[in-house]
Structure formats: C-alpha cells, structure tokens
C-alpha cells in the first residue's frame, strides 16, 4: 500500500448513505444481493449479523453504521460486498455498487489531516472521478482486527 512507485490499481466504487466510497478491488471476493441477516446477540451495533455464504457463516457489517453515517432502510437494491481481510471473510452492506475504475496510485490524494474526525480515519485516500469526490476506504481499519486477539 505504501508502495512509492506509481502503479495501476482498480477501485470498486459504491454508495453508502448517499456518499461515494471505493475499495481496492483486489480485496473484494464477490458481490452478493441482499439477504436477511441473522442478528448476533450482544454484537456491536454496526454488525448486521450473519448470512449463509454457500455453507459457511459470513458476518455482515453495516458500512453506514460503521462510518457513523445515517443507516438506510434496507431494500432489494442493497448489496453485500464480500471482502477478505486478515484471512477472514467479511460482508459489507452498502446501498449500491456503482462502477469499477482503473487509475494509478498518483491519482490518489492523501485525505486532509482532520484527526479529530473519526470518519476520516478509515479513509485512506481521496480521488476525483468525473468531478465527484470518491473516498478510498482503508479496509484494515474498517474491519475490526479482533480475530488477531483471539488467535
């Protein structure tokens, strides 16, 4: 990630609570339609619960709540982006997937240093596509790393 030399990358862009975010496509495993989740008792409120991903139990996170954005009512257009982070799969519930865009690392700008904004700590970089600002998420800080503690 901190690779200094310019390199190409592809971003999957999607909308969360009327805002545009993106993820490095290399961390995305698949995109699924919305299915009802089974809530996990006593889990953090941004965890929507678990779903059946072809026979395995996949935890699903409500990305809007994770980013402290107003949570939207779920509808059939919602999708779950399945990402792999720290060796485990996690589902991210988003409003809708928009596009896949190719760009180089040079097109990314570091986010303005607003340390007090908790929302910005999960944004790795900013970029502009068609005059729209797109936030690039730092997946490592979005997905809790508690699996390390358990291991």
């Amino acid at each position: 990630m901190s690779d200094a030399s310019p390199r190409g990358l592809e971003l999957l862009t999607f909308r969360v609570a009327e805002q545009e975010y993106s993820l490095d496509i290399m961390s995305v495993r698949e995109i699924r339609g919305w299915t009802r989740t089974t809530p996990m008792p006593h889990a953090p409120d941004y965890m929507r619960g678990v779903i059946n991903l072809r026979g395995t139990v996949l935890p699903v996170m409500d990305l809007a709540r994770r980013l402290n954005l107003p949570s939207q009512e779920t509808n059939d257009r919602n999708v779950i982006i399945v990402v792999k982070m720290n060796g485990t799969l996690t589902g991210l519930l988003v409003d809708a997937v928009s596009d896949i865009v190719a760009m180089s690392e040079e097109d990314l700008q570091p986010p303005p240093d607003i340390a007090s904004d908790p929302q910005m700590s999960v944004v790795r970089a900013l970029t502009v596509i068609d005059d729209r600002m797109i936030r690039v998420l730092d997946l490592g800080s979005v997905v809790p790393r508690t699996s390390d503690e358990m291991a």
């Binding site: 299915t35 009802r36 089974t38 809530p39 996990m40 008792p41 006593h42 889990a43 953090p44 965890m47 619960g49 678990v50 779903i51 059946n52 026979g55 395995t56 139990v57 935890p59 485990t88 799969l89 996690t90 997905v143 809790p144 790393r145 508690t146 699996s147 358990m150």
Partner: protein, 730 residues
C-alpha cells in the same frame, strides 16, 4: 503437514505415523508384561516394536533415535532370551525408556533438539540391569536398512561376486553356518533385494556365496517375474542363529530359508509366519518377524492365506497396504488423509442442509403426505441420516491412544510427588470423533495430574485411613445415551468441602454468609482463580486450573461434573457429544428469530399458567414445577432481542437440565421442530457472544444460532445459582 512434492518427506511422514502405532503396541506389550504376562509373544511384540523403530530410523539417518533404540533393544533381547529376569523395577525402567523413545521419535519428527542427556541417563540405568551379561557395542551395520532402497532395479547378479570378496571378518572363524535362501515372487513384489540381504549376511562374518541355477529354465519357457535362483551361503561367524534370522526378518514368509550347521541334514524349511496371536486387538506389527522362539516351535502355524505382508518399510504404498490383524482375520485398513474426510464431512453437511431445503419446499407445495414425492423424501431422509452416521464413523477413533498417553502422565506425576499410583483404564475401545480426542488430551492430562497430586493422599495418610498404600486412579470411557462419558476417579480422600468453602470465601469468590450445598461447593473448584493446594507443588503450580479444564471441555460442547465422597474418593466425569459436526436440536422461535437448542438438555416443555410464575425480586422470576421452584430466564431478553417483561402468562417454557443437576426454565415464543442440524463453527467471526455455541443453516438457507443453555445461564451471573439455593432448598 509436509510438502507433498517431496517424496522423501512423505515417506518420512508415514514412518512417523508407523512409529506412533509401534509405540502404541510397545506400551501395550509393556503393560501386559507388567501385569505378569508370561506369553513369550508379548516380549516379542515389545522387542519388534523397538526394533522396527530402530530400523526405520536408521534408514532416515536419525542417529540419536537409532542409538537409543538399539541399546534399549539389546536389553529387551536379554529378557526375550530369558537371560534377564525383569522385575517390577525393571518394568518401570522399560516404561520410562518407552516414554523416552516416543519423545525421541517426536523430537526427530519435529526437528527438535534431542534430549541426549536423558537418553544417556536411561541407557545407563538400563544397562545396569544387564550387569555383565553382555556389553555389545553399537555396530553401525546393524542398522543397515533392509530393502529400503528406492530404486526398484532388479539386483545385478554380477555384483554378488564382489560381495563374496568383501566380507568383514572381524573375528576368527570359530563357527560356521550354512544358509540356504530361495526368494519367492512376493519378495520382489515388496521391493526387497536378495543382494541387500546377502550383503547384510556377509557382514556377519566370512561368507562364501554360491548361486544355484538348477531351477533356471531355458529362455523360451522363462517367466520373467518368477524367481528361479537360490543361494547357499556358507558363513564363518560366531554369531548365533537369531542374528542370521534377523537379517531375513523383513522377508519372513517371502522366501524359503534354512539355517543349519554344516553336516546337519539339509532340509528346507519355510519360515513360519507369525502365528495368529496374542495381545492387543488394535496394534499390529507392521512387519512380520521371525521370532527365534517361533522358529523352534515344533508345530508352526500354517501359513496365512494372505501372505502378502505389509512392505517392510513405510513407503507410499503403505497407504493402502493390507495389514495383518493379529486375531488372524485379514482386516484391512486404509490410511486416509484427514483433509479428505473433512471434505466428505462437509459435503454430507451440505447434503443434510439441502435435504432440509427440499423437504421444506415440498411441504410448502402442499403435497399429500402419501404422494410419491413425500414417500421418496422420507426415503431420502433415511439415507441421508445413514450416510451421515457412516461418515461420522470414519472419523471416530478409539480413545486408546489417548488413554495410553495418560498412563504416562500417571507414571511421571506419581514419581514427581512420590506416590505409588496405579492407573486402571476401562473402555479403551470406545470411539470418539478424532478432533475431540485431540482436543481432550490437555484437559485430561490436567485432570489426571490433579487426581494424582490432590486427589490421592500420601502413602502415610492412606495407611492411617486403612487403605492400601498404592493409590488407584480409574480412567473409563463409555457411550451413554448418545454421548461419550469419560470419567477420572481416584480412591483418595475426597473433597474437603469445609476447606474448599473457606478458601473460596478467603479469595472473595463467594460471600461469607451464603450457605452453599455440597454440590455447589464442589463446583467452586471450577471457578477461575481457585486452587486448594496449600503448597504449590511441581505439578499443580503450572498456572492451569480446573477452570481451564472446564472451558476447554465446554468448547467441545461437553460438560464436566464432580462427585465426591469424603474418605472414599472423587470422580470427575466429562460428557461429550459424539461428534462436532451434527446435533439433534430443537428448533424454536424467540422474538422472530429462529434458534436451536441441543435436544438432550431439554427435559420437558411447559405452557405457563397465571399462577405458575412467582417474582423473587424485580427482574428475577421462578416457575413452580411440581412443587419445586426453577429459575426462569427469558431467552429473548438474555439475547437482547426484546426488553424484559413482567408477565409471562401463556409463554412457552423449556425446562432444561444443567450440569450440576439443577434445572432452569427458558421462555421462548414457539417450538418449530426437532431435527438434526449441521454445526457450523463461528470461530472465523470476530465476535462471539456467551451462550452462542455455533450456528447452523436452516432449510430456507437462513442461519440459525445454536445456543448452549448452560453457558448462557452462567453468563447471566455466577451467583444466580447460589441465590437460588435459598429458594430451592426444599
């Protein structure tokens, strides 16, 4: 496990698997000897086990292992030849050596540093047994691997002339032997080479080898795969017959062999294969071996029909090699990679889920229960269940290996605290899921240590109590109503409840004024931070408490309980599910969520009437069930699905039984079904609430959580039960 691309690593890996089996039969044999078995086959089994480990170790250049095994074997050989009478002290030493041998095997396998000092210490004690019987030096040629050569080229017969001229004559010819050797076709099938055998023979002394070509047919009628040659070797050596037989031990039954003094009538004798015999039901010697006693047996057993013995060395064919079972019947065993079985288990899991989906959609289609489709479905369900049971059986393993490890723990821990302890095991053939066995080792070790250290009194105290000085620890396993029950019991002093209660109060684990039942006091032992040992001994000072034991048993879906009688002893019993893959569950509905409870904890179901529920204090309720009071828990509240309610009339309640024999009532909304569910672990998710044991996939593809009621009630507050002791005291 190992790199699958490296054939040598694979062969080595299977050698270590073989070693585990050999070590197991070694333990068995020693156990029988210790119990006074006079059967010569017992010591043979022991000897062969050590010998085979040595042979394999030599092939892989595991020098320390070879060194120890060789000298251990030498001592055993003396016992075998009745030149050494082994008393119980000697047996203890043999056990210690066997334990050390397994340490060496493991160290070799895992590339750990070799405990050489310990080897030397044991060898010194072992050889002290011999006195001046013999002081054989380690001779490297002894470990010359027989037929392990991986090149399967036919032996170059021309080479034999070289062999003739290269004998290692160490001693002057004082004696001579005539060895006639005629290989049979199977000998080549199993990768042995006459050349190697003859070379090894030549190493024993000065040899003259002549090849007998008389059976060789003309070229046109020669069957290329039939051996026609035989050899006569005149050996000038002081060695005895057993040493010569040892050279041929891996080809026993695969050749005609006669060993005679010159001048004795040359009559050919086929080596008697190992008779159907003896000891343990499980361990089979991987290589049939010519035991000297068997060779002199006037009535050798008829050769077994399945003369194809296992290959003399573990190689890739060992995976499917038919093995001889000791009870004479040809019971073949296939070694399968655990991963493949896991895959099969997962597929069966999918099948069960699919079947549930199918039956749900057929049910929704409104078909008549007598329609063909419904009948077919029923058949399908039965088949699914059969397949599932069979697959689970593949993973099942007898607990024997686990119990054997425990006997070592008893030996070591009793020596450490200077108590004389005897371990009696029962139900070793009880089968349990392999993963369960693996994860049981640590908790069981701790429990055994605990029994030896805390459970049993010192020999003096035992004498005062009128008990024999030797303490006994029983380790039993049995199947009981769909679960496996493993018990560790000692005949010690039992739990000193006053002391336990006092310690718990001192440590602030319970309020001083709270009266506790005997059962509750016993269960205090499982609280974290509890230890009765007034002195920290070398055994118990390891920082592992019974609470850890309890946690690990619970993570296996098991339960642990204590029964103790003052002066008579203490019994810990572990009850485990047979498998970690499926569960008979009760599917219920709570606040719109579907949940599964293990069926075996549900004692009965009730529908609450207006008079049934009493308030103990705000938020705490009890239910009257046939004169007794049972605490009431609202599952929906405990899981955070809904706020607490004050009225429970009309609710459905599951009466469940907890480990300590007490009961609890769980409020639910509806009961859906009783069915088998496939357990899906939640280990991968990064959060886990107490009381949630696992998850499963329902017929509609939705995930339902599997609850552990005991855990969820325990999480509600540890003193809840004690508080209830007040109300439940009737």
């Amino acid at each position: 496990m190992t790199d699958h691309n490296d054939p040598m690593a694979e062969i080595k890996a299977s050698f270590f698997i073989e070693c585990e089996e050999l070590l197991e039969s070694l333990q068995d044999g020693l156990q029988e000897m210790d119990e006074g078995s006079e059967d010569p086959e017992t010591i043979n089994v022991v000897f062969r086990a050590v010998h085979s480990i040595k042979g394999g170790a030599g092939a892989f250049g595991l020098e320390e292992l070879v060194r120890f095994a060789h000298r251990y074997e030498t001592v055993l050989d003396e016992v075998r030849a009745h030149r050494l009478e082994a008393d119980s002290e000697a047996h203890k030493l043999f056990f210690a050596a066997a334990d050390h041998l397994s340490d060496l095997v493991r160290a070799s396998r895992d590339d750990l540093p070799m405990p050489v000092a310990e080897s030397d210490r044991l060898l010194t004690s072992l050889e002290a047994l011999l006195g001046d019987v013999s002081d054989e030096e380690v001779r490297p040629e002894d470990f010359e691997p027989l037929g392990v050569s991986l090149t399967l080229d036919l032996p170059d017969l021309g080479d034999l002339s070289d062999v003739e001229e290269a004998p290692e004559a160490e001693e002057p010819p004082a004696d001579s032997w005539i060895v006639r050797f005629k290989p049979e076709a199977e000998l080549f099938d199993t990768g042995n080479e006459p050349q190697m055998l003859i070379r090894n023979l030549c190493a024993l002394g000065e040899a003259t080898v002549t090849c007998d070509l008389t059976d060789l047919p003309p070229l046109e009628s020669l069957a290329p795969e039939t051996p026609y040659l035989s050899w006569t070797i005149t050996l000038q050596s002081t060695c005895d017959e057993a040493e010569i037989r040892e050279v041929f031990e891996f080809v026993d039954g695969l050749c005609e062999l006669s060993i005679q003094r010159p001048g004795a009538a040359l009559e050919s004798e086929s080596l008697p294969p190992l008779g159907p015999s003896v000891t343990a039901e499980i361990a089979r010697p991987p290589e049939p071996t010519a035991a000297p006693t068997a060779a002199t047996d006037p009535a050798p057993e008829p050769p077994e029909p399945a003369a194809a013995a296992a290959p003399p060395f573990p190689d890739d064919t060992a995976e499917a090699a038919p093995r001889k079972s000791k009870d004479g019947g040809a019971k073949s065993v296939v070694r399968v990679d655990l991963e493949r079985i896991e895959r099969l288990v997962n597929l069966v899991g999918e099948l069960v889920i699919n079947q549930a989906m199918l039956s749900q959609s057929l049910g929704e289609a409104g078909l008549s229960p007598h329609s063909d489709a419904m009948n077919g479905l029923e058949e399908f369900q039965r088949l699914t269940r059969d397949i599932q049971d069979s697959v689970m059986m593949i993973r099942a393993q007898p607990v024997k290996s686990l119990f054997q490890r425990m006997s070592r723990i008893v030996r070591e821990s009793s020596a450490a605290v200077k108590k004389d302890v005897r371990l009696i095991t029962e139900g070793e053939s009880t089968e349990v899921d392999k993963t369960v066995i693996e994860r049981l080792a640590d908790p069981l070790t701790h429990m055994i240590r605990n029994s030896v250290d805390h459970g049993l009194e010192s020999p003096e105290d035992r004498g005062k109590a009128g008990k024999p000085p030797q303490g006994t620890v029983h380790l039993t396993a049995a199947h009981r109503s769909g679960r496996v029950v493993i018990e560790v019991s000692d005949d010690g002093g039992g739990i000193d409840r006053k002391k336990v209660h006092q310690v718990a109060i001192t440590k602030g684990l319970v309020p001083p004024d709270l009266p506790l039942s005997d059962n509750e006091i016993d269960n205090l032992l499982f609280l974290p931070g509890f230890s009765t040992a007034s002195q920290v001994s070398s055994l118990s000072g390891r920082g592992v408490g019974m609470d850890v034991v309890k946690t690990s048993i619970q993570s296996l879906g098991g339960r642990i309980s204590i029964h103790s009688e003052r002066g008579r002893g203490t019994t810990f019993s572990i009850s485990l599910p047979l498998t970690l893959a499926v569960l008979d569950g009760m599917v219920v509905n709570v606040a719109g969520e579907t949940l599964v409870l293990p069926l075996n904890v549900v004692v009965e179901t009730l529908s609450l009437g207006p008079e049934d529920v009493q308030m103990l204090r705000p938020g705490a309720f009890v239910v009257r069930v046939r004169g007794g009071f049972v605490p009431l828990y609202d599952l929906g509240v405990m899981l955070g699905y809904r706020p607490a309610r004050d009225r429970h009339e009309g609710a459905i309640v599951l009466l469940i039984s907890l480990d300590d024999g007490s009961r609890a009532a769980l409020v639910i909304d509806a009961i859906h079904d009783q069915r088998q569910v496939v357990i899906k672990g939640l280990d991968d998710s990064f959060y886990r609430a107490p009381g949630i044991a696992a998850a499963t996939i329902l017929g509609d593809g939705q995930i339902a959580l599997i609850l552990d009621p005991a855990d969820i009630i325990a999480a509600e507050g540890p003193l809840r039960g004690a508080e209830l002791a007040l109300t439940q005291g009737v």
